[in-house]
Symmetry: C2
Subunit: 345 residues, 2 copies
């Protein structure tokens, strides 16, 4: 059986403690899988076009004594995450060669996917395919489900979003604007703040690195208090938010990126406000909302086609650049949704 | 107009920082109010029979820059809290002399209540009247609403309760048993642990002071994890609970007594489990559930009459003993619901 020439991939070199570095990963070239799945197999062979860099990957690089919500990566094995793929060969009745799909794949050129039931079809291939790693993929559904289902917004409410120019934050903010909320975002550079105000049309935005007293800053931006905090960062930002929440406020806990590279998480001191302000803080994972995906895809594709939402990506070219791209998430050097283009068709 | 001879009361001497001490309060004797409310007034004059000692009173003794959920006490003025009272004179059409009521009153012998709309009638006066400071009053409704409305239990779920022999904890545990949950409580002495197991029929209970590793202890008591944590203490207990929660678990945040005497609260480090385990942590205040009170009173009075729930009180006699009784809550020396008997009829 013919084989692709080779298969470049990014592997985890060792379990990571502390700050992730490029040296924790390695780009290697392997023998490629056969060009067709074996007869009788229900697997699909895909060519990876784009793969996504997402903060939660850092958690998978730490060895967990107790099983976490996603399996740990294994040193020596290829990294995996959401990607956009072209099916090359399929043993599964739902897919055929040529199909465009998105879902979990390897950080490599070609991947054999043994559970193709996990893949989503791409129904709007005329939109940029890379969007299916972001606004039309996992981060988009995360923003949509977390905002509407978890934080349960009402028109006119005050919304604060941290990491607001990131893959999820930029979408939450725009969805909040669409339904008539007042939206302020924080980000870690003036360039990102400018994006939030001009491109994403937030009501206001600020550079948290320039605010020595974050609690006071939030009091300035939200003199009436915050109804919904879309939590992407955790730690001291959460501590500054809690006293600024309004009675009955909601905190949709999507991620806590400020904590992922710490050996010991920061302590959050202001939790008693959860009692006195009757707050609801609720975590969620996008996996629990996969059954809404196609409904979401239609709605978001519509917004994109109508120009109702903007979207900013930060794309690096090729797997050799992938380790550095992943690290950018934690140093805040990405501007917009970070992804890797493996092959442009 | 005739007057009662005198009116003994407990006043706050100064705003409190750090650990509450008896010296922060003072028992003084004042001129008593007139024996009848003035013509035209809608106030009621009550004779206080029992007053409740509740942890939240500590928060009112600290000066808050921003208004909190209840007003701060004022140095020099009488302390106030829930009590059981006999109406002596009423200018309000809903009350007449002789009525038994419960609600917010002063820590004193006689109080003029200017907003009698805030009072609840006592519909089961043949049960011990003191119960209306506890199982039939604010702590009872707190337990009932927090457990059923906030934590939304299902039969067979695993429930952990901290400060479990306290006013609220003992009731939550017994309600959980009634609907078929598995209930474990923690408390701070072997005597309390024994109460939990024998009197309140918890499935299990432990003395947290004898557990050097609380997280490991909870893993032993809940090998399947915790569905509902009824949070009364905060701080390191919360940190130990979070990794032991099950997917989709709920934390009903009722209070955080371990933190009330600290100038700077402890930091809680394990909040990321809120995301990975999709937890909901929700604060509540009993005030939001007052409209259910009479329904609750009937249900709980029924349980008491049928012997379905047990109830343990820790009663001190007289206002002179009230400051020390309040402090017992924070040193853990009370056994069961702490209250002060001012006058036994």
């Amino acid at each position: 059986m013919a084989a692709t020439a080779s298969n470049k991939r990014v592997i985890l070199k060792r379990y990571v403690t502390g700050l992730l570095s490029e040296d924790d990963m390695e780009v290697v070239t392997m023998e490629a899988p056969p060009l067709a799945v074996p007869a009788g197999s229900e697997a699909v062979l895909v060519k990876n076009l784009y793969v996504s860099c997402d903060p939660y990957m850092r958690n998978r690089m730490t060895r967990h004594e107790m099983p976490s919500y996603v399996p740990d990566f294994v040193p020596g094995e290829v990294l995996a995450n959401f990607g956009v793929m072209r099916v090359i060969s399929s043993g599964h009745r739902d897919f055929k060669a040529g199909d465009l799909v998105w879902g979990i794949t390897g950080w490599e050129e070609y991947t054999v996917i043994n559970n193709p039931e996990s893949l989503f079809r791409i129904n709007h291939p005329k939109l940029p395919l890379s969007y299916y790693t972001g606004i039309l993929g996992m981060p988009g559904l995360t923003a949509y489900a977390g905002f509407f289902e978890v934080s349960k917004p009402k028109k006119g409410e005050y919304i604060f979003i941290s990491a607001a120019s990131g893959a999820v934050g930029q979408i939450v903010g725009q969805l909040a604007k669409i339904i008539g909320c007042y939206v302020v975002g924080s980000a870690g550079s003036d360039e990102k703040v400018s994006l939030l105000k001009t491109k994403f049309c937030f009501n206001d935005a600020f550079n948290y690195k320039k605010e020595p007293d974050l609690e006071a800053a939030l009091r300035r931006y939200f003199p009436e208090g915050i109804d919904i905090y879309f939590e992407n960062v955790g730690g001291e930002t959460l501590d500054a938010v809690l006293p600024n929440m309004r009675l009955g406020g909601r905190i949709a806990a999507c991620g806590m990126i400020s904590q992922y590279n710490l050996e010991r998480p920061e302590g959050v001191k202001n939790l008693f406000y959860i009692v006195t302000k009757r707050l609801r803080m609720e975590g969620f994972l996008v996996f629990d909302f996969y059954d809404r995906y196609y409904q979401f895809e239609e709605e978001m594709a519509g917004y994109l086609k109508e120009g109702k939402v903007a979207y900013v990506e930060d794309v690096v070219e090729g797997l050799d650049a992938a380790p550095a791209a992943l690290i950018k998430l934690f140093t805040g050097r990405n501007v917009g949704k970070q992804l890797v283009a493996i092959a442009r068709e």
